[in-house]
């Protein structure tokens, strides 16, 4: 994968990745889907999704960078609500710039 992918294309790839990793119908996943709250992702699922994204887009995910939007005082409920597919799309799009 290279730069200049549109957000829509990035979304399509990430939705496909999540569908494969969690064995859910990709049509049931949208940008607003929350990985923890809606898809009940477990820790091993997040690891799998992370690695698949790294492979698909050709970069290593920096955990600090990935969680930076939440800030140093964010509680778990904020992360559970905010960790959406769109959040991942935005992260990937920024990394590809």
């Amino acid at each position: 994968m290279t730069e200049n992918l549109s957000p829509e294309k990035i979304l399509a790839v990430i939705v496909s990745i999540i569908g494969e990793a969690l064995m859910v119908d990709p049509q049931s996943i949208s940008g607003k889907t929350r990985l923890f709250a809606d898809l009940e992702s477990e820790s091993i699922d997040i690891v799998d999704i992370r690695f698949r994204i790294e492979l698909a887009f050709g970069f290593k995910i920096d955990q600090t960078d990935l969680m930076s939007r939440f800030g140093s005082q964010a509680g778990n409920s904020e992360v559970i609500e905010g960790f959406t597919v769109d959040y991942l799309v935005e992260y990937v799009a920024n990394r590809l710039k």
Partner: protein
Amino acid sequence: MSTIAIGIDIVSVSRMHTLLENHLDRIRDTVFSSADTEDLPSNLSHFKYLTGAQLEQTCRILALKFAAKEAAIKVLGIPLRTAFELKHLAVRGCHQFTVQLAPPLSQLARSKSISRLVGSGSANIDYAIATVIGERND
């Protein structure tokens, strides 16, 4: 020693198997350290060549160690926003184990007066489960 907190986690062995098949190098870089893998039947770099009982045992052990790491994370009460790699928790031993922490997790444990993480685990063909206790020196 007093017990401060307890954590538990369960991991699908087949899920771990799939993860190892698909992402072996990444797993070796970020999830399992050499301390985690010292009691495997063979070197993790040889995973792709494993078959039969050795393959099954390797997947069970690593599923158990993954569960142990997650149980330890619950004991430490690490916020989801915290950036760290699972490799920062080293699970030494298998059915009876200790969890050793690298920075920044070691500092977090000290701030919560947790001086030791110990636990026990079990695995069958389907699932691995681990329980971890955080202890404090009295």
